[in-house]
């Protein structure tokens, strides 16, 4: 894979805490029911790389790039997605 | 230099939009002032708001180009698109007014083409110049739906 100069961090955090223009990897989805189905179908599956693009003018929702397309999530939904920061999962 | 032209274009057109936008809103509050007939101000606050928004997009673009932050050119492109878009909206509104007067106008209702001319309409002509200069380059990245 590509070389990464970011510090090796394996701390699990949630997607809403990832700052703009940062990359991270999904490790788990805590949503349940219909929401879970939707999140998984949109490609937010464990192992996938997510890049934070930008937030709406009032700070919420936020646009992410995942699997080569753009997806927007509210902070409430992003909080349910567990990620580790950095280029490597 | 390409970017310098864009910077100047954005700064000048942006300033025009902002000033006319302020005038439009001012006219709403204090009423029309003498000596500005040539600007075709209508005193419509919404029209003034739109002028201000387009002006702000151009000025932001020029500022970003000046500071060399990147993305500045995109603000100019979007400003140009908005400029033309609203010029078209006003043009259609003008046509609608004309059709209504010609076919259903009552005697002495007094609609004249000058009533429909406003800054959004004529500033779009300048925007169109920018479109002919850089529009192709920008739209190349987009494709039909």
């Amino acid at each position: 894979m590509e070389s990464s100069d970011s510090t090796e961090r394996t701390e699990i955090t949630t997607l809403d805490r990832i700052g703009p223009k940062c990359r991270c990897h999904v490790v788990g989805v805590r949503a349940s029911g219909a929401l879970r189905k939707r999140v998984l179908a949109m490609g937010m599956v464990p192992g996938v790389e997510v890049e934070t693009l930008q937030s709406a003018p009032l700070g919420d929702p936020t646009e992410y790039r995942v699997k080569g397309y753009c997806l927007s999530l509210r902070r409430a939904e992003a909080r349910l997605i567990e990620v580790v920061q950095g280029d490597e999962p | 230099m390409q970017d310098m032209t864009k910077l100047l274009f954005g700064a000048v057109l942006g300033a025009l939009y902002v000033v006319l936008g302020i005038f439009q809103i001012l006219w709403t509050v204090i009423g029309p002032q003498p000596g500005f007939d040539a600007l075709f101000l209508t005193g419509d606050p919404f029209n003034g708001f739109v002028l201000l928004v387009i002006g702000a997009v151009f000025v932001t673009g020029a500022w970003k180009l000046f500071r060399d932050i990147g993305e500045g050119a995109v603000f100019i492109y979007i400003g140009i698109l908005l400029s033309i878009l609203f010029g078209m909206v006003e043009f259609f509104a003008l046509c609608a007014g004309a059709i209504e007067t010609i076919f259903f106008g009552e005697e002495g209702s007094g609609w004249a083409i000058t009533d429909s001319i406003n800054p959004l309409l004529y500033l779009a002509a300048i925007g169109a110049v920018g479109f002919f200069a850089w529009g192709r380059e920008f739209l190349r990245g987009l494709r039909a739906a």
């Binding site: 998984l40 009032l58 646009e63 509210r74 | 979007i78 509104a93 007014g97």
Partner: protein, 665 residues
Amino acid sequence: MTKQIRIALAGNPNVGKTTLFNAITGARQHVGNWPGVTVEKKTGRVSHNGYEIEVVDLPGTYSLTAYSADEVVARDFILEEKPDVVVQVVDATNMERNLYLTTQLSELRSPVVIALNMADMAEARGDAIDRDRLSAFLEMPVVRTVGTRKDGISSLLDAVIEEAETSPHHEHTIGYGDDAERMIASLVGVLETDQSLAARYPLRWLAVKLLEGDEDVLARIQEGPAAGRVQNILSSIDTDGYEATMADKRYEAIAAILPQVRTVNTRSMNSSDIIDRVVTDRYLGIPIFLALMWGAFELTFTVASPFVTAIDTAIAWLAEAVAGSIEPAWLASLLGDGIIGGVGAVLVFIPNIFILFLILSILEDTGYLARAAFVMDRPMHALGLPGKSFIPMLIGFGCNVPAIMATRTIEGEKDRLLTILINPFISCSARLPVYVLFAGAFFGQQAAGGVVFFLYVLGIVVAIASAKLFRSTILPGESSPFIMEMPPYRIPTALTSLIHMWDKGSMYIRKAGTIILFGAVVVWVLASFPYGVEYGSAESLAGSLGHLIEPLVAPLGFDWKVSVALIFGFLAKEIVVGSLGVLYGTGEESLSSALLADPNLSAATALALMVFVLIYTPCLATLGVIKKETGSWKWTGFSVAYGLIAAWILAFIVGHLAGIFSGGM
């Protein structure tokens, strides 16, 4: 002899499915609703090489779970109606997520043909896709198409026909890993004992869905003999865990194929990304959105104006011509005042509706609508509404009829219903003549502007308060989650936009029109009977009804004349003015002095009346679209009742407060 085959068009949203559908079927299409839900159903026909092909456009979905009505509709059609071939439209520039749906379609055991659409865009950005290899991996034909240029349609139809004639079909399945496969095998073993189930559905698919905890599928097997043992198996496992594993495995399978069939030209930024930097800019995002909305509003109402006037003039001329030339008089009145008037009430909205839907279609096709929802989500969310409900609310200031039709872009059923129910409180332009008359007569030129402004604000306040109230009572819960694709910006095509406009416009005429016409005839009967009375006078049924309901509105200070005017206001709110003119016997010109001279009317009563007109029962045309859009008489009735009650209470409060205030001065 021509052979008949039926195909279904499936695919993700925003992949050009509608454009491809239009390219295949041309004008030979029919729009309706899927039974029981408000999801649109489009079907079309095309002849190709001696085959008559019926094309059913399935709703755009990302998956085939039971997440939304759209997904259930799509998979039920494939399962129950068993189309000969399913064509999946795949966006060549976004294959990974698109193929996720393919992995699920193949489990339904229908033959699938892939239309690799927007292939020109992928090629333009430098991607190379090996279609033959992709076809070999997926074990289904892959055809290159460009819907916007009608490229590849003929080869697509060739592939469809060939696929329809080939049998039996090879089932392409994904391995979900040892553990999941063991569970699937044991579930299939149990399901096999239910003969009727095995005949109707692919058992492996049923087992996969059960393992994912799909409640819709669980309900389907509930009746059969296998239900008990299935429950036993499911209760011992964690379906949430399997769901994630299986989604993961599907994406893994895709990830294994893609690098072998596609070389991607990665570029750091494309036009789409950088446009978003501007239109979702921290400071400029919301102003740009509001400016565009003003433009949409201006086009919808100002530009439509001459067409509205034309229709209005034509209808008035026709009504007069009929009234003057037909005998007996009652028939002339029925045709002129009732039916032509009613048809007119339907037709006058057409210019607005056509233009509005043209604009909405363009906004949607360019991709901006998703950004509008993105930018406005936070402020609207604070009111318990989704970002997308802002546009209908704004259009409501012009007219509630197109506004309510515009709620179609809202995905969540509850969110949509909520937006529909509060929309009538947004003061539409038809209410303005009533305000102008009363505010002008009772408050003078100076204060009239302030009074009208107060009414507009009151309407917004009532809408927001009602939204809050409905959220905590009849439509409980949070607004639906916001997980939305931000499609790349594109240049819209004229054909797609025009077809969209035509669909919506003609749908309005067919569906809402009948209800409006019926209502107009009822009002005509009330105004014209008993036989021989002057139309809409005190002696008519409407007049008697006015006397009858007078006690109900007496606390608000309204007399029977106002009651009658309010009854006619049901037809369209501006009619309140005209019918008061008839009742006072003055016509509209000298009405304001006649109102001022009426001892029953004070400034406070006038204010109460304006508040009542603002809030009470939406007009007939609005009710027509509420019925059509909610598909329910219950909600339509609710809207009437809630409006009447809220209007009564608020008119009472405002009238009495104003009375105390002015009495004290």
